[in-house]
């Protein structure tokens, strides 16, 4: 069966070539499927007034009350966000700026790829910025807002994701990713949340069966 063995050789060769041709990852970008599977599990939309939330966060960061709890005991400022489909991602910015470092370009591109994917097209999203508890509380809210805005801008302007699908919110150190460790760098990550299903998305082919999850899978085998 020389033909068969040759085929196997081709496969092996291709695999080796593919492996060596891959660029060495600096900061490993997340997989597209991972983003899609996290953000695609959408159930019900909460009522979110983003403008009002921004205001609320800024005001909270200015509170100077004596009874103010320490960072690890602060109550969540937007508890509505907690149950939503969330993708937490490490995006590196220049210090104290909203400028994304080149090492994170691939990651931002990957997020754009996921948002363009059919599975996520029916949804809209919230880009949430966070910080750790180092630095001034008010400044942290502003920085996280500017960073969330920057990611939204890149998605909208550079990758032309519809601006209707993406909003942004900076939570600073008012709601931690890891509240038990408020000073941890883990808290500087960006989160993408699925917050709504876009209206009038219900058109189904009348004669064909509605695309179920199982059917999607079989169509994907190509």
């Amino acid at each position: 069966m020389p033909a068969k063995r040759d085929l196997r050789c081709i496969g092996l060769l291709l695999a080796i070539l593919a492996a060596t041709a891959l660029p060495r990852a600096q900061a490993a970008a997340p997989e597209k499927d991972e983003i899609i599977s996290q953000l695609g599990r959408f159930d019900t939309a909460p009522e979110l007034d983003i403008a009002a939330l921004r205001q609320k966060v800024i005001e909270k960061s200015k509170s100077r009350s004596r009874t103010e709890p320490e960072p690890s005991k602060r109550p969540l400022i937007v508890p509505e966000l907690v149950g939503l489909p969330t993708f937490t991602v490490d995006i590196r910015f220049d210090t104290d700026t909203p400028v994304v470092r080149p090492e994170s370009y691939q990651t931002v591109g990957r997020i754009a790829d996921a948002l363009v994917n059919a599975a996520l097209l029916p949804y809209s999203f919230l880009v949430v910025g966070h910080t750790d508890s180092n630095g001034r509380r008010e400044a942290n809210v502003l920085l996280s807002q500017r960073r969330a805005d920057a990611i939204r801008d890149v998605l909208v302007n550079t990758f032309k994701i519809s601006s209707k699908r993406i909003q942004s919110l900076g939570l600073g150190e008012e709601q931690f990713i890891d509240q038990a460790h408020p000073t941890s760098a883990v808290n500087q990550q960006i989160q993408i949340l699925t917050i709504a299903k876009l209206p009038e998305q219900s058109e189904q082919p009348p004669q064909a069966t509605p695309p179920s999850a199982a059917k999607k899978k079989s169509a994907k085998k190509k």
Binding site: L14, V100, Y105, T107, R110, D113, N117, V154, K160, P205
Partner: protein, 145 residues
């Protein structure tokens, strides 16, 4: 065995083109993903951006402008790649428009949608049988799958 060895050798030489031919045949995209295009920019121009365009975000217009303004200072690698990276992003975006043309029949007949709102019909196009090869290719080029 000798023959096998020489076949292997020849294959090693031509396999990159073979691999891409293979990719075409199974109908994968002819455009580059946003992640790959962004990675290309970062890999070829990361140091140049840090040195010459500090403070400029990943904005296609502003970054391209900054890099072209600093062409003389760029590394050869960056100079030869940055336009390619931005073009790849642009190509992927423009590919969305082509879906309305390539999938017009499917959008209207199979998905009872409108070519004016193509993106709403995308999930249907992907999960429905009887979609033309052309349409599938357009969908892939736009990165919808």
């Amino acid at each position: 065995m000798v023959r096998g060895g020489s076949i292997l050798f020849v294959l090693a030489l031509i396999s990159p083109s073979l691999a891409s031919a293979q990719a075409m045949r199974i109908g994968s995209a002819e455009t580059m993903s946003f992640a790959d295009a962004s990675a290309l920019l970062a890999q070829s121009c990361g140091a140049d951006i840090t040195a010459n365009c500090r403070g400029v975000n990943l904005d296609a217009n502003r970054m391209r402008e900054c890099l072209s303004r600093n062409t003389d200072a760029l590394s050869p690698q960056c100079r030869s790649d940055y336009l390619r990276a931005f073009d790849a992003i642009q190509k992927r975006i423009v590919a969305r428009v082509a879906v309305a043309n390539a999938c017009g029949r499917e959008i209207v007949k199979l998905c009872s949608g409108s070519t004016k709102e193509t993106s709403k019909s995308i999930p249907c196009l992907i999960s429905t049988r009887g979609v033309s090869r052309n349409c599938i290719q357009a969908v892939d080029n736009a990165g919808y799958r």
